[in-house]
Point group: C2
Chain length 194, copies 2
């Protein structure tokens, strides 16, 4: 997605060869017009998949997910992140490890909102090692529902997440794929033209 690549080039800050900071339009301040376009692009990519729910995780996933859900006119659910929970009957829980924060969180979704006949589009802002996306996919499967696909705003293609998601049998679509952050510069994966 050209618009998003330009934003990353113009406003992204390379903090290290592993970390890209995009807090001017995605992770703290958000550009609503760009988010609407992001939602439209996810809708285009996953059109015809019969999506019935969009699932994301708080907080940065919420804006792209609500815009995608608006296009499909289906409910959006944001999973909660908590330190660690006493066992509860009414929620699905998965433990998700954050490499950035070096800690595990319990990610939870109420059992009231996912059903076996749901086809769920999972949306997240970043894909690095795939922990969050795979945790959400496990929650969908706990509910007996189907993961229709995983949509990512920015994929760090030099980390293992995209491959892990594909290996788990899911379709992943990333709007921007970062090949490298080395030498303080963002370079993108060059797509083969079909």
């Amino acid at each position: 997605m050209k618009l998003l690549q330009d934003k990353v080039l113009n406003e992204g800050i390379v903090l290290s060869d592993q970390v890209l900071k995009v807090d001017s339009f995605l992770n703290h301040q958000m550009d609503p017009v760009l988010m609407k376009e992001v939602g439209r692009e996810f809708a285009r990519l996953f059109e015809g998949e019969g999506i019935t729910k969009v699932l994301t995780i708080e907080s940065s996933g919420i804006a792209p997910a609500i815009m995608a859900a608006l296009e499909f006119e289906v409910p959006m659910i944001f999973a909660r992140k908590q330190k660690s929970l006493t066992l509860r009957e009414d929620i699905y829980v998965e433990k998700v490890y954050s490499f950035t924060k070096q800690q595990s969180n319990d990610v939870t979704v109420s059992k009231k909102f996912l059903f076996p006949n749901d086809k769920v589009l999972i949306i997240d802002d970043f894909l690095a090692h795939g922990e969050a996306a795979l945790g959400l996919a496990k929650i969908v499967e706990q509910a007996g529902a189907q993961v229709a696909g995983i949509g990512i705003v920015i994929e760090k293609s030099f980390q293992s997440g995209a491959q892990r998601i594909k290996d788990a049998g899911y379709r992943v679509e990333s709007l921007v794929r970062v090949a490298s952050l080395s030498e303080g510069k963002v370079s993108f994966v060059t797509e083969a033209v079909h």
Copy 2:
């Protein structure tokens, strides 16, 4: 806002005479079409105020705030909630007490995104004692910017927040005003017709 009152009546769960649970369309699962209407209504209410930024707090404020920001075509900023922080030069911090969770959080906004010429619309999902909204207003004033108004999705009018905000000199507009949750029933504030 009639649409929202109907949602509260049909899907809201009265947990006590203080607590209304609306996790089917606002606090966990979200209705994107309703959120778009909520954004439109805030835009209508604060039209002509010269809004340059929308500010909210993670997580449930993000969807209504991004929809309002989309209408105004201005950036949205979501403040972060953290346990407690070591002092940092690059962020505005306010301590906000949550009566529900009975704990204080540091609410933070990067200094990069608020300027003295900004006119900021503050959006939040719930208004109870006004702690979050007033904390955000203090951050706007720390930046030397102007609070153009405070937009609330659901106000619990039997708690002190709305009055505290008005006493502090801010304009508050709530889309739904709950007069009481007693006897397990939601009743709304009856507006005087002008």
